[in-house]
Amino acid sequence: MTSPETRSVIVEREFAFPPEKLWRALTQPHLMEEWLMKTDFEPVVGRKFNLRGEWGGVLDGEVLTVEPNRTLAYTWDFNHDDPAYNLTSVVTFTLTPTAQGTHLRMEQAGFRPDQPQAFGGASQGWRQFLDNLDQLLARGAE
């Protein structure tokens, strides 16, 4: 999945709640919908599911790893007729218990640096804004 041309994004945060509670929020569809996206997810390896963004886009996922309260990984792909919009990536959540609660690490790996269009999770307006961004920045540099 990862090759020299791909990059990853890592976001980490400490939550004042036990891993078991985070695990529920990460794996139960009705809870996932509240913080991530609408989905028919099931924490079963090999299970295919969709994540439906409020902007109308649909992401395809397949569950890769399920280690309750510790590790969850799934593919996060966006297929578009125009290859420039395609996105193939893997999202991995790692939960580590701490004295105060749980340290959560999210790594999204596998996307290419030349696919700025494939931004999953933004509203249409936000996406348009990002599409214009490079142009705005180029003008600012003049």
């Binding site: 990059r7 990853s8 994004v9 976001v11 945060r13 939550f15 709640f17 509670k21 985070l22 529920r24 929020a25 809870l31 509240e34 913080w35 991530l36 959560l104 999210m106 999204q108 996307f111 640096p113 696919q115 700025p116 931004f119 999953g120 999770g121 933004a122 307006g125 936000w126 804004f129 990002l130 214009n132 961004l133 490079d134 705005l136 920045l137 003008r139 600012g140 540099a141």
Partner: protein
């Protein structure tokens, strides 16, 4: 720089505020009155949006007589200029929602 991403995403998440900022990017420096004429919201609302943009470092104000002129600070967008920065902002934002959900969930 997760905090910087987060602030930028929050600040630009509002469509009216984003439109004001885009106008400043396109048309250059403008007064509150000129921005209000095309924003579709009241002058106090425009001033409030400009205040939030200023706090995020996205606009700069320059008083001249009784008027204040606003201009876009494009360099403040640098964290969003690359794909990883954008995705980072997306996840930071989702983690905020997750934190909020966890506080509302029963044990």
């Amino acid at each position: 720089m997760p905090e910087a991403h987060d602030t930028l995403f929050r600040t630009l998440a509002d469509p009216t505020r984003r439109a004001i900022f885009e106008r400043l990017c396109r048309d250059g420096e403008q007064t509150v009155a000129a921005l209000t004429a095309r924003a579709g919201v009241s002058q106090p609302a425009v001033s409030k949006h400009l205040g939030v943009l200023k706090q995020a470092g996205l606009v700069r104000d320059r008083p001249e007589g009784r008027q204040t002129h606003y201009s876009a600070q494009l360099e403040a967008l640098a964290p969003l200029a690359d794909w990883t920065g954008r995705m980072n902002g997306f996840w930071e934002n989702r983690f905020d929602h997750l934190e909020n959900l966890l506080t509302r969930m029963d044990q």
